[in-house]
């Protein structure tokens, strides 16, 4: 079953020097449980495509269908609900909230989704154990290493049991060994049933995917 489909999707950014086409006529489908890597040189449109697939951005042309619903017909509120409950995001720079503990960071999306407190706490413990940080639940991001912060970010992304996990350069800020650990963790997330799309420069990380898409000048040139 297809989770998200892009049909002839383009994304154009108006710039003072003239419009810049970041994504050009991309047609793509991500199946449930699939592991897809998007690679390519800097500025080729990988992150923009990821944002489109994650309903964070809207295409300038073409259509995007998430679980059978045309995203362009949805309100901002409806897109927020999809992102909150059906999609997980992992960022290169983690973006954990520094004033919250690891557990509170993981609890936050669940609270926003209206999950009861007891359920949230149970799920948070379970997720922190899953990413190997059960003992670090009460630590703030400043007390964690880069790899640990990315693990918390993955736990946060999985908090509301998303069908699709989008990761933008998830190992970009980490050393090779730590990046390897994060890649293994993401493989495990995918193996447990969550569709995974990773944007990466790292060919080793890309090679772990079921399918690798290479982008150039906003187009998918190889898959």
């Amino acid at each position: 079953m297809t989770v998200v489909e892009a049909h002839d999707v383009s994304r154009v950014f108006p710039m003072p020097a003239g419009p810049v086409v970041a994504v050009r006529d991309v047609t793509l489908g991500i199946e449930a449980g699939e592991h897809v890597a998007i690679s390519g040189p800097s500025g080729c449109g990988k992150s923009t495509l990821l944002h489109l697939l994650g309903c964070v951005d809207a295409p300038s042309q073409g259509s995007l269908v998430f679980e059978g619903r045309d995203v362009s017909t949805l309100t901002d509120r409806q897109r927020s609900v999809i992102r909150l409950t059906r999609i997980g995001f992992v960022f290169q720079r983690f973006f954990l909230l520094p004033m919250l503990t690891a557990a509170e960071n993981v609890e936050l999306p669940q609270a926003e989704a209206g999950s009861p407190k007891a359920e949230r706490q149970r799920r948070t413990r379970e997720l922190l154990e899953y990413v190997g940080l059960g003992a670090r639940a009460d630590h703030r991001p400043s007390q964690l290493s880069g790899g640990e912060m990315q693990r918390v970010a993955i736990a946060r992304a999985l908090a509301n049991r998303p069908r699709l996990l989008l990761a933008d350069e998830p190992t970009g800020e980490l050393d090779h060994a730590t990046g390897e650990q994060i890649a293994t963790l993401l493989d495990r997330v995918n193996a447990d049933g969550t569709a995974l799309v990773i944007v990466t420069h790292d060919q080793t990380l890309a090679s772990r995917a079921h399918r690798t898409l290479t982008m150039r000048d906003g187009r998918i040139c190889d898959s």
Partner: protein
């Protein structure tokens, strides 16, 4: 985590900035609170002084302020006629004049304000030592009350015989000395800090003024009958003597306001607007800086599914917390400042001791809270707009590029 709790954690995250913001709002809020107290303070204080005595209508010959203008002739008979009206509970003639009290040792006589009023259930003064004056004039003369200033300057004690020479209601001819016995020390509501005041019965005031039984009154103080209201009483007196000018306390306050107190309201309105603007700018700057520093974080929250409404609410809650905590601190700070400023302003000459410029009333507190709520909302508008319009993807991309 609720938006309020989230905003609280955001403030605690940068305690120095939050602390400075709260202190800034406290300072601005204290000034705002004081301006609110000042805007109505004199009016409230004046009304309190007028009502404290227990009379709700004052009858004068003209609209001139007390102590000026023509007197009311044949006041004794008129007072009795007013007292007989069914709308009236009590009427008291009040004579105002000046007197010089002889002092021993060849010292210059002491100039005092001289008050004559019939003793009644409601007193124009409050006796603080000795007893009140009583009706009846015997061979030793009448009875006299003085305020503490007079007692101190004379070095007089209760029971002393006091000789005074009165000057009443524009009389220009020299009057003989009158003899009084000092029976008590009293506080007079409209006394200034250095004012010298002496009081006796209206009858003895008449004798001292050389018009026994027919002295002019400066005004007649009237208390409405039980259950009656001041307007009805005033109308009844106006019907009885259309040539006189009966005024309710409210009208008196209005008259005093017209004669200069409205400046304080205008000044406080201008200063309130300025302080509120400063408060708004302060909060807007703090929140805008805070939001700008957290743009990527907010964009990430939006990407994680936080709604536009939620992130906007976070900013509003942060503003509410800054203003709320600052506003709470502003109350004791404003109260202390009001006491200090009141002391300074009351040094102006000619002001009654019991008159205050800063008077607390619940309405001022309600307006203070409302203005702070408005400040919190208006100050948060621009940062809320920034957050609401935040392009998620562009912000995330810019963060990575930077």
């Amino acid at each position: 985590m609720s938006a309020l709790a989230f905003a609280w954690r955001g403030l605690v995250r940068q305690p120095a900035r939050a602390g400075l913001g709260i202190l800034g709002v406290a300072a601005v809020g204290a000034l705002l609170f004081d301006m609110l107290l000042l805007s109505e303070g004199l009016v409230l204080s004046m009304r309190d002084l007028l009502e404290r005595v227990g009379f709700d209508v004052r009858v004068r010959a003209t609209m001139a302020l007390p102590g000026s203008g023509p007197g009311i002739a044949d006041a004794g008979r008129l007072t009795a006629a007013i007292a007989a009206l069914p709308e009236v509970g009590e009427a008291v003639a009040l004579g105002l004049g000046y007197a010089e009290i002889d002092r021993a040792g060849g010292r210059r006589p002491l100039a005092v304000d001289f008050v004559g009023a019939d003793t009644s259930r409601r007193r124009v003064w409050t006796v603080t030592a000795g007893r009140d004056i009583a009706d009846g004039h015997d061979a030793r003369g009448g009875e006299l009350l003085v305020n503490q200033n007079v007692a101190s300057r004379l070095g007089a004690t209760l029971g002393d015989v006091i000789q005074l020479r009165a000057s009443c209601m524009h009389q220009t001819s020299a009057l003989p000395q009158a003899t009084f016995t000092l029976v008590g020390i009293a506080e007079f509501p409209f006394d200034t800090v250095r004012q010298m005041t002496a009081a006796t019965t209206f009858a003895d005031f008449g004798i001292a003024c050389g018009a026994p039984g027919s002295a002019d009154a400066d005004m007649i103080l009237v208390a409405s009958a039980e259950g009656g209201d001041a307007e009805t009483t005033r109308d009844a007196i106006a019907r009885l003597r259309p040539d006189l000018n009966p005024m309710t306390n409210e009208q008196m306050v209005g008259l005093v306001q017209q004669s200069g107190l409205s400046y304080f309201r205008q000044i406080s309105a201008v200063l309130m607007t300025v302080t509120m603007s400063f408060g708004m700018l302060l909060i807007t700057v703090l929140l805008t800086v805070s939001v700008n520093q957290r743009l990527a974080e907010i964009a990430a929250l939006r990407a994680l599914g936080f709604s536009q409404r939620r992130v906007v609410l976070d900013v509003l809650c942060e503003s509410a917390l800054l203003v709320g905590l600052g506003g709470l601190l502003a109350l004791p700070l404003g109260a202390a400042l009001a006491v200090w400023l009141d002391g300074i302003l009351k040094r102006m000459p000619g002001l009654p001791v019991k008159l205050h410029f800063f008077v607390f009333e619940p309405q001022a507190l309600a307006i203070h809270v409302s203005l702070l709520v408005a400040t919190a909302v208006i100050a948060a508008l621009y940062p809320m707009w920034l957050v609401a319009r935040l392009p998620i993807a562009t912000t995330l991309r810019n963060e990575v590029i930077s």
